[in-house]
């Protein structure tokens, strides 16, 4: 697999598979991530998938201890390990990409920025809802705060800028837009994305395994629900 490897710090390497957001590139990130989960090397700490990169964290002293033909830097050793794994992965490997339906209530009482988004996009509110809930999105990355999924791509007609001033408190479950991305806030926190609905779906739960309901590569579709259904399903 074509890639570029660079150091993030003394105990982390990033493997970059390209410079654009695409399912093909993100699949390569995921394939390496899964290979490392299945067969972690000695000294492996964790790997973090993003849009185009996988970042591999490792334990410096454990890596150096494993250096029998040395002396090498830990970077050289881990780069060698990663290159070996990459050469064994095929570009067209079968990936398991589970699909998930997530209910979203677009009622204006839970969607403070929906009227603004409709006006900005020159669409009616029902058209925005229809567009947002008719696509299948890919989870490209989990980041920002625990469990926050970066979902793409939104249709160009829903491309909206972030708020100039972030809202001081975005409620947990808020479904929001920014650029060609849509995301869901797992916790109540300040945030700059445009909120167009809310889900009763739990994204992050310490007491379930895994703690994060979504993972990179998952295929997500939003299902509109009424305010009444939302209230019946809400757990958080």
């Amino acid at each position: 697999m074509a890639s570029r490897i660079y150091a993030l710090n003394e105990q982390a390497l990033s493997i970059s598979f390209g410079d654009e957001i695409s399912p093909q590139i993100n699949n390569k990130v995921l394939a390496l991530h899964q290979a490392l989960q299945n067969e972690p090397f000695t000294g492996f700490v964790e790997s973090v998938p993003a849009y185009t990169t996988l970042t591999v964290y490792y334990d410096l002293s454990q890596i150096l201890e494993s250096d029998i033909n040395g002396p090498h830097s830990a970077r050289q050793i881990v780069t060698g390990i990663i290159n070996d794994i990459l050469s064994s992965l095929s570009d067209s490997g079968e990936l398991n990409l589970p699909q998930l339906q997530i209910p979203v209530c677009y009622d204006l009482s839970l969607a403070p920025d929906l009227p603004w988004v409709a006006e900005y996009c020159r669409l009616s509110i029902p058209e925005v809802i229809e567009l947002h809930s008719s696509q299948v999105y890919r989870v490209y990355m989990i980041g920002f705060i625990p469990g926050f999924p970066y979902l793409g791509m939104l249709p160009p007609s829903l491309d909206v800028p972030r708020k100039l001033r972030p809202a001081l408190s975005v409620p947990a479950g808020s479904v929001a837009l920014a650029g060609r991305q849509t995301g869901i806030y797992p916790f109540t926190i300040p945030g700059g994305w445009q909120v167009i609905g809310r889900t009763p779906f739990m994204l992050f739960d310490l007491y379930q395994v895994p703690c994060c309901s979504l993972a990179v590569g998952m295929q997500i579709k939003f299902t509109p629900i009424s305010l009444e259904e939302y209230k019946n399903q809400i757990k958080h």
Binding site: Q11, S16, L60, I145, I189, F204
Partner: protein
């Protein structure tokens, strides 16, 4: 009950070495900001170096020991008083029940760490006791301590803890201070106002003239600084041409450049991913130095190679192992 929090102090939280293995779920590493001081405090109590400790910023804390214990304070940023009398940092101290610990102002530094033999009872979430407030994970109900909290000492004490306690007879006094201590000596070229960095992944995005300014000007820690990161004041670092950054991994020590050209050093509660160019990375050995900077402090960046940073980190880990070994030897002869 063991430690009564009369005044919590500034953002006082329970922290250990941090939470590894959950960054792919967006969960920050967290953990002590100054891990050297955390580990030293634990070693002085006979603990595992990564046992959970209390981290507090500057002064203001007043904690009452309700049940006899072996404790140690490390770090800087405050002056320790025990029952209103000055007491040293970097020493094992045995205190009897009903002893008041208070942290008063000091001229420099920022973060103090208190270890207790056996650690503290704390919530373990995702394999760590470190507090991460945003998601209410770990520590004391996932939050900073507040007045009225009661912390319990950890139940499992190592044999070494007991040996250190036995070496400190109270003889009717409130406290007994060890006549030995441990200090981790930072590298000789470390003068406290120099932070060593190496080139970050987006180093080449910036013009040479801009990068020269990084090393020829001082930068200041602003009030917008917390466990997540420090926003710096100083000369802006602008990109000559706008480049689209696709979000990718960031970590403690990453120096990000915002759209306005401000530098932000990410710290222990750093987000797992970010979308700003990563101009440089703080050498891991100097992260504890960053952790001890307070708002208003000024410092310079100095460039080293990543190979040098790796060698320094290896050396540091060896030194801490040696300190651990010598304390162990001292009590097992």
């Amino acid at each position: 009950m063991s430690l009564r929090i009369i005044k919590p102090g500034i953002s006082t939280t329970l922290q250990d070495i941090g939470r590894r293995g959950f960054q792919s779920a967006g969960v920050p590493v967290s953990g002590a900001m100054d891990t050297d001081s955390m580990q030293l405090a634990n070693l002085l109590c006979g603990n595992d170096p990564n046992e959970v400790v209390l981290e507090t910023s500057l002064h203001g804390a007043e904690w009452l020991v309700e049940e006899e214990q072996l404790i140690a304070f490390c770090g800087s940023g405050a002056t320790l008083l025990i029952n209103n009398k000055p007491a040293p940092f970097n020493r094992s101290i045995r205190v009897k029940a009903s002893t008041l610990l208070s942290l008063k102002p000091a001229a420099s530094g920022c973060r103090s760490y208190m270890a207790a033999a056996g650690g503290f009872k704390a919530r373990t979430d995702l394999k760590s006791k470190s507090t991460y407030k945003t998601a209410a994970i770990g520590g004391q109900e996932g939050r900073a301590l507040k007045a009225g909290d009661l912390l319990e000492w950890g139940l499992e004490r190592k044999e070494l803890c007991r040996k250190i306690v036995d070496s400190l007879p109270l003889n009717g006094s409130d406290l007994a201070i060890a006549n030995w201590g441990a200090v981790y000596h930072k590298n000789p070229d470390q003068r406290g106002n120099i932070i060593r960095v190496f080139r970050g992944p987006e180093w080449d995005w910036f013009d040479e003239q801009v990068k020269e300014k990084l090393f020829n000007n001082s930068f200041g820690v602003t009030n917008q600084s917390d466990r997540m990161g420090y926003r710096l004041s100083g000369i802006p670092m602008m990109l000559s041409k706008k480049q689209e950054m696709i979000s990718t991994a960031v970590c403690m020590g990453t120096i990000q450049v915002t759209h306005e050209g401000s530098l932000v050093i990410l710290m222990a509660d750093a987000q797992t991913t970010g979308g700003y160019p990563r101009l440089a990375m703080v050498a891991a050995v100097d992260l504890p130095v960053c952790a001890q900077m307070r708002p208003g402090n000024r410092f310079y960046f100095k460039e080293i190679s990543i190979n040098h940073a790796e060698a320094l980190l290896t050396e540091k880990e060896k030194t801490l192992k040696q300190i651990e070994k010598s304390i162990f030897m001292k009590f097992t002869q």
